[in-house]
Every structure is written in C-alpha cells, then in structure tokens.
C-alpha cells in the first residue's frame, strides 16, 4: 500500500513540475510583446549599430578629398595578420630632393580580424572603424580595398 501511495505521489510531483514548466512557456505564448526577435532584412532601415561597432577599417576623407594618412606604416606594423599594406611613392620636389608620400593604402578585409590594433596604432587618427557589417561579395578579390580615394592627398600639416 505504501509503495502505491509513494508511486502516486511521485507521479503527482512529476506532473506538477511539468505543468510548472508549461506555465513559463505558456506565459510567453500569451504575452507576445515580450518577444525580442528582430526581423533582420526587413528592419534594415531602422537598424543602427553602436558607434564603437567594428565592421571594417575605413579612411575618412573630407570634402576637399583629403585624408589624414601620411603613410608612416604604423598600422602595417601593428596589424597581426598582415591585412594592411602601404605602397608609397617618391615625389620629386622643385629643389631636387625626393619626398616619400603615400600612394596606396591597401586593406585586405578577408584577412582582417577586426581587432582595432591599426586604429589604436595610428598617430594621426587617419583610420576609423565603420559600422558596415554586410560584407558578403561574389569574389574574394572584392574584399581587397584601397582605402585612400583616387586623387586624394594628405591634409596640410600632417606630412612626414
């Protein structure tokens, strides 16, 4: 007799705990406002990433097509994966001297781990992290970017 009552008690206890669990899920079933799921491609217009979000490295240019990079290669040295390469060229000045200026700031997004080391290392604050996160492309080549725009020059007073 004792065994039977124990058994029934166990079953009742088990059913009670299961109903307890169901009450939690049931609560959310009847309170759809508590659901925090966002519909991603639909909410693109309103989706705003945080300012510090690290999407990719960019080089901001002002309206006169000037950037702040003087080609000092600090970012190239700071990068742990070799995703930055600086190509510089020599400019012949009027007085016959040669001057080294930046030609291309090549950034390979496919190698980048978005660690922020280059942005931290830059002495002239030329680099910035953008909030863009949709990086899908049809080819790996498209991920190799030249950060300084064509025809852009370094800002006055920042040359090496």
């Amino acid at each position: 007799m004792n065994e039977v009552s124990e058994y029934i008690k166990d079953v009742a206890k088990g059913v009670k705990t299961l109903l307890g669990g169901l009450s939690v899920t049931g609560y959310y079933f009847f309170h759809p406002k508590e659901i925090i799921t966002q519909q991603y491609p639909e909410n693109r217009g309103t989706l705003k990433m945080f300012d510090r979000f690290r999407g990719e490295v960019i080089m901001p240019h002002n309206e006169k097509n000037e950037h702040r990079c003087n080609g000092c290669s600090s970012c190239e040295l700071a990068c742990p994966n070799g995703s930055i390469r600086i190509v510089s060229k020599h400019l012949l000045l009027e007085n016959g001297k040669k001057k080294k200026i930046i030609d291309q700031h090549i950034y390979n997004l496919s190698l980048c781990t978005l660690c922020n080391a280059c942005v931290k290392a830059c002495p002239t604050d030329a680099l910035k992290m953008s909030q863009e996160f949709e990086h899908a492309t049809f080819g790996r080549v498209e991920l190799i970017k030249v950060l300084n725009k064509t025809g852009s020059v370094v800002m006055e007073g920042l040359e090496e």
Binding site: G14, T17, G20, S23, I36, R54, A78, P80, C115, A117
Partner: protein, 372 residues
C-alpha cells in the same frame, strides 16, 4: 541458446565514433566509444580538428598582438582570456594599472561569465531535448552581448584589454545598462529553475549520473564549476585574487556530490554570485584613467611570467618565456577545457550514451579552447 549466439557471433564489444560532426559535442570533437550494448566501456577523445597553433603564432607576434589571438581560444570567456595575457605582460613590465581599469575589467569578467553560463544553460537543455531553454538562454544573453557591443565594439571577440589598461573608456550609460541587466536577470533566473532545474525528467537524467570524486578532480586537474561541484575549492578568484576581486565578497559555490546535477547547480548558483559581484561594483567605478601608458614596442625583461585567472570553465594559465626581444620566446596556455575533457573516460564509464551527452554538457567543453 543466447550464450551460444553471443559466443559464436562477435557481439560483445564494438566501436562507434561520436563526432567530429555531432550536435552534442559542441564543435569538432571526436570521441571513439567502446560499447557493450549501450553501456560505455571506454571513451577515447580524439582532438585537434580546430588546432590553429595559437601558441606558435604568439611567438611571432608582439605582446599587443597576442591579446587578440586569445579571443579565439575560449570564445565564450574571451574577455577573461585577454585579461590573463594583459596581467602577465603587466606583471612582467612591473606596471600597476589604475583602479578604474581593475574594476571595469572585473565587471566585464563577470558579465562574460554570466553570458557564458547562460549559453551553457541553453545548450544543456537542448542536449537533453528541451529546445525552449536554448531560446531563453540566448534571449537573456543578448542583453549582455549588447553591452559588450556598445563598450568593446564586438559581440564575441571583444579584444578590449590591452597591456596597460583598456582600449576605450566605458560609455556613459554603462552602469545603467548593467543595472537594467541585473533587474532583468533577477526576474528571469527563477524562471530557469521552474523550467529546467525542477523538471522531473531533467532531474532523472542528471541526478547520480557521472559522479566525479574529489580525488579524481584534483588528480585530473578538473577546475571551474565542474571541479567545485566535486568539492574541490579551486576558484582562482578566491585562491589567488587578481584585478578587483579582493574588494568584493562572494561565495565560492561548493558541492560534494560530484554528479551531473551538482555541476549544473554549481553553474546556476555561480550566476547569482556573479550578479552579486556586479551589484557591488557597478556603483563603485572609481574615476581616473582607463590605461597606463606603455611603450609602443613592449619588451619584457628576460624571464618567465605566469598568470592564472578563473574563466567561465576553470583555470586558465598563461605562461610566457621572454628572451628580451619584442616577441615572446614561448607562450603556453593551460586551458581549462583540455583537463576537463580528459576526465570524461573516468566519469562516463559504465553510463549509457544518452548519459554521456548530459555529462559532456555539464563539463561545458569549448573545443577551440581544447585544441588552441
């Protein structure tokens, strides 16, 4: 008749592979199981599927660059991994970081621990067939990842610590967000108990399964909540406090049963302890700098440096040998997952395959941490 069949056909023992592509191994871990019927006779873990030679890569990187590689080891407690390297380098350089940095690091450590345990809780339920927990765990974890995203700039591989301090100062609404989180979690964590902890099916499947004795925990080096559930007091935050853990008071969760359920309970209660640490620190962030200036090229003096920290999984040790150059001569990580995995044969012997899933889940393995 049965005996004849058993003797004539080789039905006694057989091998199966669990993994490398198996949902409950949580990554590319391969377990070679020797089975007798459904009873496990022997477990042989085969690792190395996501080996990326992080220790070797560290030898060519500067000390600032090592930090971001540790994100990729135990990705669920990456802030703590970062901190371990930074503390080792800072002790080598002999610099003292500001109080503000220590407190912020501790807050982020505890947030990382909660977020890791929330994910573990969700996945633990999912392994045992309760998919609901997965969604609930991720829902609450999302608030923490939002805090990380706003503070550190990334959701998973944060890389927020640098040798000498932090990369940026915390945003102005940092404290408010954490207070909101504490209120939210205090409301939701009891729900977890009703949903899973008290569930009769869950209890039947975890209680008395996979018992790890204290002696085995010590001899195998099982640390973290898994070790503490066996009565092994191994919390580095208590044993060897770093950052701001001296200032806060918290309980070390200890159980003596050592079974799957006590390992589960240890993690749930640890979340409550982490919340209490957050409560103590969130209003007491001292003013000051968020970093100490270090040289652009860090060169550690010739010698050996060791730092251990408590990650969400156990004890992480960072051992750096320097020969005075800008790169370390050798870096060794003592990762908690590695030691926790190899006790599996000891505790899951004699269990069924379904029990093995539960046991593995409470060991909370992160495979990239094991392989490195």
């Amino acid at each position: 008749m049965i005996a004849e069949v058993e003797n004539s056909i080789d039905t006694k023992e057989y091998f199966i592979n669990m993994g490398p592509q198996h949902p409950s191994t949580h990554g590319v871990l391969r377990l070679v199981l020797t089975l007798d019927g459904e009873i496990i006779k022997k477990i042989e873990p085969h690792i190395g599927y996501v080996h990326r030679s992080i220790e070797k890569m560290c030898e060519k990187d500067s000390y600032q660059q090592i930090v971001h590689l540790t994100d990729r080891m135990d990705y669920l407690s990456c802030h703590i991994n970062n901190e371990a390297v930074c503390l080792a380098v800072e002790s080598g350089l002999g610099i003292e970081v500001p109080e503000r940095v220590k407190v912020i690091r501790t807050i982020l450590d505890e947030l990382t621990r909660i977020s890791s345990h929330l994910l573990w809780w969700g996945v633990m339920g999912m392994d045992l067939g309760a998919l609901t927990t997965f969604f609930y765990g991720f829902r609450d974890r999302e608030i923490i990842t939002d805090i990380f995203e706003e503070t550190c700039g990334a959701r998973l591989t944060m890389n927020y610590n640098i040798p000498g301090g932090l990369m940026n100062d915390v945003p102005p609404q940092f404290s408010k967000r954490i207070k909101d989180l504490i209120i939210h979690l205090k409301k939701k964590l009891p729900e977890y108990d009703t949903l899973l902890t008290e569930n009769v099916i869950f209890m039947e499947r975890t209680k008395g399964i996979g018992i790890l004795s204290r002696e085995d925990a010590i001899s195998y080096g099982v640390t973290g909540p898994a070790g503490r559930a066996s009565g092994f007091a191994c919390d580095i935050r208590k044993v060897n406090p770093y950052s701001a853990y001296r200032q806060v008071s918290f309980k070390e969760i200890l159980f003596h049963e050592g079974d799957t359920f006590s390992r589960y309970k240890a993690r749930i209660l640890e979340m409550w302890e982490s919340i209490s640490i957050l409560e103590q620190l969130v209003d007491n962030i001292p003013e000051g700098d968020f970093f100490t200036k270090t040289k652009a090229v860090i060169k550690l003096p010739v010698g050996e440096y060791f730092q251990r920290v408590e990650t969400a999984r156990g004890e992480l040790g960072v051992y750096i040998i320097s020969d005075g150059k800008k790169n370390p001569y050798r870096v060794k990580f003592r990762s908690p997952g590695f030691s926790n995995l190899f006790v599996l044969n000891q505790i899951a012997k004699g269990c069924k395959i379904a029990d093995l899933v539960a046991i593995m889940s409470t060991l909370d393995l992160v495979i990239p941490d094991i392989d490195r």
